[in-house]
């Protein structure tokens, strides 16, 4: 088990160890390492089927140095509920916090019902959705979190299509609407911010939810060295606002001194490249810019103006 230091000088244990099969530069793998650094050893982690589970657990190997379970694609929130209920009933609640780390498909699509149930029943669980904006494990098919204008294998760009057309689900608001006391968005591009939020989510009593943007170099089609840079661009263009919602109130918005145009983000990734080639692409880009502008308005992102 690797032991090393990070900013601030604290010694932390690496609880998600190397040897996993994630693509080089995988945003999710970087994020999971940071999540566990923040969470520490006293957690039980649940992951549904998806890239994270597949890359980390080829029997008889495992990257997990905390107790970990994978069951199915849609039931991470329910399995986590069972673990939390079991710990309570066994008088072991103090032993560990329960943490679910699940993909966007597992969360926003097939696992939406179980997640809603987990929220509603008030389990003491931190649920982190790592959003790489498609079903990556099965080959980059669209999910309800694939952003408009992106080409995915089941919403491909083609002669008469610009790719995905539907807006992303607003997962954070869905969590807030359930009365979840701690909700945050985060990005792998801002590691310390992510770690701080994970800590706050875990320390929160009752359900908490983090919607975490993690770039996928394979599905988004960008060089593996650009993961952090591109993740930051999503934030800096206003497409991925960073904020916390505590007891229903938006707090701690990451404000932007000078918001960048969305093109700066879009042009870094193959999944948007058709927008710059196809006739009419500018119109789609204009609509994507409108999404960023609306975010800026809603969350007060712009420091100036």
């Amino acid at each position: 088990m690797g032991v090393y230091r990070f900013e601030g000088g604290d010694t932390v244990k690496n609880l998600f160890v190397s040897g996993h099969r994630a693509c080089a530069g995988c945003g999710m793998a970087i994020a999971v390492k940071l999540i566990l650094e923040a969470a520490g050893e006293d957690v039980i982690v649940v992951s549904p089927t998806g890239c994270l589970e597949i890359v980390s657990s080829p029997y008889p190997e495992t990257s997990w140095r905390v107790p970990w379970i994978h069951s199915l694609f849609e039931n991470a929130a329910s399995v986590a509920s069972g673990i939390e209920a079991g710990l309570k009933a066994l008088g072991r609640k103090h032993e560990a916090k329960v943490l679910a780390i699940a993909g966007d498909g597992a969360t926003a699509d097939i696992g939406m019902g179980p997640l809603s149930g987990m929220f509603e029943r008030g389990h003491d669980i931190t649920y982190i959705c790592y959003d790489n904006e498609a079903y990556m494990n099965t080959g980059v098919q669209r999910s309800s979190m694939t952003p408009p204008g992106a080409s995915a294998t089941t919403s491909p760009a083609g002669k008469v299509s610009f790719g995905e057309i539907h807006p992303k689900k607003d997962l954070a608001s869905i969590a807030v609407a359930h009365g979840v006391g701690y909700v945050a968005t985060a990005s792998v591009g801002y590691g310390l911010d992510l770690m701080r939020k994970v800590r706050r989510a875990i320390d929160h009593d009752g359900p908490s939810f983090i919607h975490l943007h993690t770039s996928c170099c394979t599905g988004w089609r960008h060089p593996s060295s650009k993961t952090i840079e591109i993740s930051r661009l999503a934030v800096l263009t206003g497409l991925w606002p960073l904020y916390e919602v505590v007891d229903g109130e938006i707090t701690d918005v990451k404000r932007l001194p000078k918001r960048l145009p969305v093109e700066d983000y879009l042009k870094t990734q193959g999944r948007f490249s058709h927008l710059f080639r196809m006739e009419g692409g500018e119109e789609i880009i204009r609509r994507i810019q409108a999404i960023a502008d609306a975010n800026a308005e809603r969350f007060g992102l712009d420091l100036e103006g």
Binding site: P67, S71, V79, A85
Partner: protein, 387 residues
Amino acid sequence: MEVVEGSYAVAHAVKCCRPHVISAYPITPQTHIVENLAQFVADGELECEFVPVDSEHSAMSVALGASAVGARAYSASTSQGLALMWEVLYNVSGMRLPVVMTAVNRALSAPLSIWNDQQDTVGARDSGWIQIYVEDIQEAHDALIQAYRIAESREVMLPAMICMDGFILTHTYEPVVLAEQEETDDFLPPYDPEYYLTVERPLSFGCFAEPDKFMEFRYMQHEAMERARFKIKEVADEFERAFGRYYGDLIQGYNLDGAQIVLVTFGSIIGTMKEIVKHEKDVGILKIRSYRPFPVKEVREALKDARVVAVVEKDFSAGFEGALFSDVKAALYNHVSDLKLLGFVLGLGGRDIPPEDISKIIERSRVVMDQGLKEEWEFIGLRGEIL
């Protein structure tokens, strides 16, 4: 002895087993079981986490998570609910988690029917769960207590479902001897798993297996099922010593001595059959108590002197025949010659099974005994006028 509803008796047995976590979703005719359990919790008679979930898929997933962390978990469902759990059933058995559930037997839609047949659990036959079918309410109650002993034993570590006919057993009242808490505690030790999720020893559960590893997992499940044969017998004997009641081990025979015709079946229909068979000298009944593991040797032994065997069941595989019929034939093939086998499908979707239907089956069997086999299997009780 108290006169109680079948669902109450089951809930009472569950309570005596002291489950840590109960998770279920309501569906007729399973509802009274979970309502009774919820009431026990509300009245402080049962200390456990009762997790009222969003679906049966979640119910079994909660049970899975609870079991993985070392808790004793219980669920109950039927029909559409059991079908929605399908995926999780395989997952629970593959992870070798000894969850116990009551599977109430009800037909599967379409057409929608809330009434009894056994298509639902027969469909879950290959899910890696131990399946025990019960004959009456007392057995439903007793088998539940036995189920935890069997499932949680270190040699077995497999989930178990106790299958009971919907309405016929869940909604009727019978005199039942309800277990005492103390005698149940003496019989059923606390769940003590070798492996569970804990920060003391961080293990990974539910890894994926490449083709060079997968088959061995399945084979080990099979070996556990083989060991379960002995465990089911052992637990039935110990239960008899402790509680004074016995329902057979993997099977139970009635009137088998000298029987030329044997009716093979499972579930509550045995009650009706016994009434008829009382008046027939050469007709016996073979109750399949454990459908998985299947009592292969026991079936061969029990049927070796019969001349005609009639397999009677409330399920069938469209395009073939009843599932139990296929299984009984398969168990006998190569081992018992000179035996004629007949299959009868009846009672689907709650169709009443009057005693005359059983008499008709015995009549058909006699004709085969005298004149040889013509039709191998048939539906009994079809209404020609609506076909």
